[in-house]
Symmetry: C2
Amino acid sequence: MNKTASGSRPSDLLPASVLGLLGARGPMTRTELAAALRVSPASITQVGKDLMSRGMVAELGQLASGGGRPARPLSLVGSAAQIVGVKVAASHLAVVAAKLDGTVTLTRTEPFDVTRPDALDLAARAMRAVLEAVDAPVLGVGVGVPGSVDSLESGVADSPTIGWHNAQIGAALRQKLGVPVLVENDVNALAVAEQVYGVGRRYSTYLVVTIGRGIGCGIVIDGQVYRGADGGAGELGHFPMVEGGQPCPYGHSGCLESLIGSSGLIRRAVEAGFWAADETPTRPDDELAAIRRLAARAATDPVLAEGLFGWAGRWLGTAAAGLVNLLNPETVVILGEGTAQWELWEAGFEHGFRSKLMAARRSLPYVVDPWDEDKWALGAAALVIASSFDKDGATGYQGELVRERLSGAAAGRTRTEV
Amino acid sequence: MNKTASGSRPSDLLPASVLGLLGARGPMTRTELAAALRVSPASITQVGKDLMSRGMVAELGQLASGGGRPARPLSLVGSAAQIVGVKVAASHLAVVAAKLDGTVTLTRTEPFDVTRPDALDLAARAMRAVLEAVDAPVLGVGVGVPGSVDSLESGVADSPTIGWHNAQIGAALRQKLGVPVLVENDVNALAVAEQVYGVGRRYSTYLVVTIGRGIGCGIVIDGQVYRGADGGAGELGHFPMVEGGQPCPYGHSGCLESLIGSSGLIRRAVEAGFWAADETPTRPDDELAAIRRLAARAATDPVLAEGLFGWAGRWLGTAAAGLVNLLNPETVVILGEGTAQWELWEAGFEHGFRSKLMAARRSLPYVVDPWDEDKWALGAAALVIASSFDKDGATGYQGELVRERLSGAAAGRTRTEV
DNA sequence: GCGGATTATTTCAGTACTAAAGTAAGTCAT
DNA sequence: ATGACTTACTTTAGTACTGAAATAATCCGC
């Protein structure tokens, strides 16, 4: 009714948005595009005409009509372009390449020692190997890191968990790889993926809660990931939940992550006698493996199931309810390695969640997505395709580069310059 | 760099924004206006010219220059227009009229029985009395209610605390008063006031935490109050803080409000022996009075000071720290009746807040504004002036009406039609 | 009292959008 | 078949913005 827009925009956002959406979601009618991009149908007619004349999109045949003029969906022409995503963890690096619609075409995992001085060189080498193995132009590389990132464009990361302080990831990788690079917090990247490929199709304001080594939260408001003043929003894991409690490496105590992050779960298992103290894993990666073994035992041990996973589910449900009471989202998505054991968490979660919700929100739906190992890296890759419809310029110049390359790829050129 | 805007906008937002800003903040230079409204200086030149030709604004003399062309501030001409705000509570109604810059010109408090079937008639009568007593055109009326409101325009309120379910406040008052009416949650209204008159001048992303009968929170992101999917965001009071704990009228237990809302404080005082059980106040309003008396005694009773107010401060600090960790704001503002006893809360708050913050945010500043009884109603009044620069149309048609009246008032007309 | 630096404002030409009204192409009930 | 209705898209004319370059008015050092 009262939309705003106007004036000059050198970077041709709307055409790129159309190309990006068609790439990510497949053929769409003009009306659907207009609604998804929140512009008038008239605008779609215009850019559609332009893109067709440039051979970048084409009309598919008609759709069946349910009483009314039948729609003629637009479809991307050419563009075998792909996107690349990287998940950075303390001990390894996961890299995926995917088509624009999120179909994974290639995955690679490398051991990674973040403490080495040449860590970024090694990372760049692993990424370059993937770039070269992909038989298609690559629009850009998304990088997901645990910790806060100042902006996707500049890509300066702070991460106590992997020991980065003011690490200039973005600039370094850009220089070494010669492709657009977008850096973001790993959970926020997952939220972006959810917006492009997941619940974003139905909801625009929701929370993405992750359980695994840490406990994280992505906050999506009206289709945009909320990053906070310094890119550090979403630290659900560090909400104080109990008085006293375990100290946390982030400098406080009694937070949710210290309770039910992987270390917290192991600690609880030891304290409750479910796990021998001398078997306590020493490397973080082993914690997840240990939890898988506990879960296997829990299948036949109801005391363990309830005393560990049920307990964790209740805490998670309590925190999630607090979030919902506070932020009033439309839904909650639960992701992360921990969801592999979700059937063990579920009852506890349901109880904690529903009993702590305000009455008016007691029936709020939540979704647990199936999880696999590529998801973190695929989330990072989604940063690239999402930058083609980055309305408020969060991706800056790197986003512009991606949009340029998208046009090139859609135009059928096999290779675009850096 | 990459702003967007364009096309037609029937409702002339920018001129109204300029008028509103000049009214609220006093004379400003074109450059300042451009920065505050996030438009180009060129646009301000144009609307400034237009508004001057219509006699609505005028140039003041030059400002002293510090090396450069001196600025010539624009100032509102005419417009003795005023704004009216109402705070609805279960037992009373506070109404204020104020100038556009927030200076209160008239206040009135009426006893109010929300349970009576003709409650809205009585409310409308009290408001009409103020409207008639104000010797100036009134741009509109803002109404702050405890509870969630679907939208400022339609004004349908849900408030368990005062027993409203689906109450059509907006429509009813509009029809009875014949002026634009904007309804909003009381804490969100306070956050809007903070944006217009308070910390909004220096920060754009911050939290407004209120302590009093309840515990509330307004979330301001990039200059906009975040309302949540159903207008129900900000319920900090219902974040679960302790296992078990007191049941809450909102249908759960152990939440922050049940701990340190006024009822919780009194309960704690009784349990700790600071207050005789048979003196427990029965009416909600008496709770705040009882707390004032406890505070007076605490001035000379360190055990009471620490055991009650220090304890409450620690809980508040803990919750605020959780919020800051989660939402990464630039600052936190603390408001509400409870701040009258802030010197008693402060030490506990400092301790709880700092010790639960993530290390990277440990030095986050917070502000405790001086409080007086008019603040709730003045916050509601701020809804009216804020609607003159309502970029994303949250105030709908009522906002358009306000902008029309503002133009009329600035044009020097004494009275505008409904 | 003159050039240079600095800041504020204006001019100008261009553009990406919009609303409103028109056109196209089907379904469905009679 | 006809016309009523529905939905999808297009045409048209207009506009509220923008960036870039030009202009204006001051201070400062010498």
